[in-house]
């Protein structure tokens, strides 16, 4: 895979210098806008996952690249924290976190897909979702070595299922790739990165930010909890909407798998993973809530953008 298209002055300077064989330089620019900042950040994170064919692997740890990444991350984290209002969860912890997530009210893309969306809208949604689903569960995997014993074992119990229980045919990212191919879409990684709105880049960048910083391990797990706890019922609606529009069985099967898998994963994420983390490190509870809020809020922002676009059309 090659670097994506630049979206402004900063990402253009970054991608030019990443591609060149001379020293990395010229990165002291302000981003043009959110699109510019988030495509730059997304690409710098991607150096830590699969990388790019047109970028030397050494540049993953280039100090100038890391300096820019850190500058954009600080701005992004400050923005995410400014959107969040600290809350004290009800006791016991698991019921408190489930209630916090359930009380969050936002627009539902799954409800739109279930009843109203047309085929083009659903294919657009799948293209956007492919940025995350083709590396599903990878960002939270960064958190594993940063956890104490009990939450580490618990997270691996969940991740083992996400990664197919050792069977590559059942790995969730692979199931989504099969669904894309059957739907006539491209399944190579990030084929649609140039088409996605900034909200999708933010969703993905938040997970990498939380995963790659030990300091933010609790936000990473809180994000996971909110993601899993808002997946089962919407996945059922997605599956019904895809069936209504006669999309291929492989894509429907991906969502049906998530109805059942995430009914398990939400219990694990809230009880055995986040529950064990705050039992071991009680001061991290606020960051668990911050991570959960960020997941819900960024999903709302994406959903609102798409619903506004589709209604306007």
């Amino acid at each position: 895979m090659l670097l994506p298209k630049a979206r402004g002055e900063l990402s253009e300077a970054l991608f030019d210098t990443l591609r060149s064989e001379s020293e990395v330089e010229g990165l002291d620019l302000r981003p043009t806008d959110g699109d510019d900042a988030h495509i730059a950040l997304w690409a710098m994170y991607e150096l830590h996952y699969a990388g790019f064919e047109d970028v030397d692997d050494e540049r993953e740890w280039n100090p100038e690249v890391l300096r820019l990444r850190r500058r954009l991350e600080r701005d992004f984290e400050a923005e995410l924290r400014a959107r969040h209002t600290a809350t004290t969860l009800d006791e016991p912890f698991a019921e408190g976190l489930f209630a916090y997530i359930a009380d969050h009210d936002g627009p539902s893309l799954a409800a739109h897909v279930q009843r109203k969306a047309d085929r083009e809208q659903v294919l657009e949604l799948l293209r956007h979702r492919s940025i995350y689903h083709l590396k599903e569960s990878d960002p939270v995997a960064w958190s594993v070595p940063r956890l104490p014993t009990a939450p580490k074992a618990a997270l691996m119990e969940l991740q083992y299922d996400e990664f197919g229980g050792g069977d590559p045919n059942r790995l969730h990212a692979h199931l989504f790739a099969l669904g894309l191919e059957a739907s006539g879409l491209r399944a190579d990684p990030f084929a649609y990165i140039d088409d996605v709105p900034a909200e999708i880049l933010e969703l993905n960048n938040a997970m990498s930010l939380f995963g790659l910083h030990r300091r933010l391990r609790a936000a990473s797990l809180g994000h996971l909890a909110a993601f899993e706890a808002t997946s089962s019922l919407p996945s059922r609606r997605m599956a019904q909407g895809l069936a209504r529009l006669e999309l291929p069985q492989e894509m429907i099967a991906y969502y049906e798998e998530h109805v059942e898998a995430d009914a398990v994963h939400e219990q694990l994420a809230v009880r055995t993973i986040c529950g064990a983390l705050v039992a071991a490190e009680p001061h991290l509870v606020d960051d668990v809530v911050f991570g959960a809020f960020t997941c819900l809020d960024l999903e709302d922002r994406y959903a609102q953008r798409m619903l506004d676009e589709w209604v306007a059309a």
Partner: protein, 70 residues
């Protein structure tokens, strides 16, 4: 820090208001007598009776009134 008697790691977990979690491989017979094999490291068995995916949990308990949850 290790707890005095090791970590709790039960085979079965009853989730308040939610499913029953089963660790490991099991065969679960549903209300109609049909046997279902578990396929994942941990499985969630419906306790509210309203799941559309019996005998497994599909999250439906979350939309029930508190008095109707298990």
């Amino acid at each position: 820090m290790t707890p005095e008697h090791g970590f709790e790691h039960p085979d079965v977990i009853i989730c308040p208001g939610g499913p029953l979690l089963l660790r490991g491989d099991h065969v679960v017979e549903d209300a109609d007598g049909v046997a279902h094999e578990t396929v994942r490291p941990v499985s969630a068995v419906c306790r509210c009776g309203k799941s559309a995916d019996q005998p497994w949990c599909d999250g439906t308990h979350k939309v029930l009134a508190a008095r109707d949850r298990p």
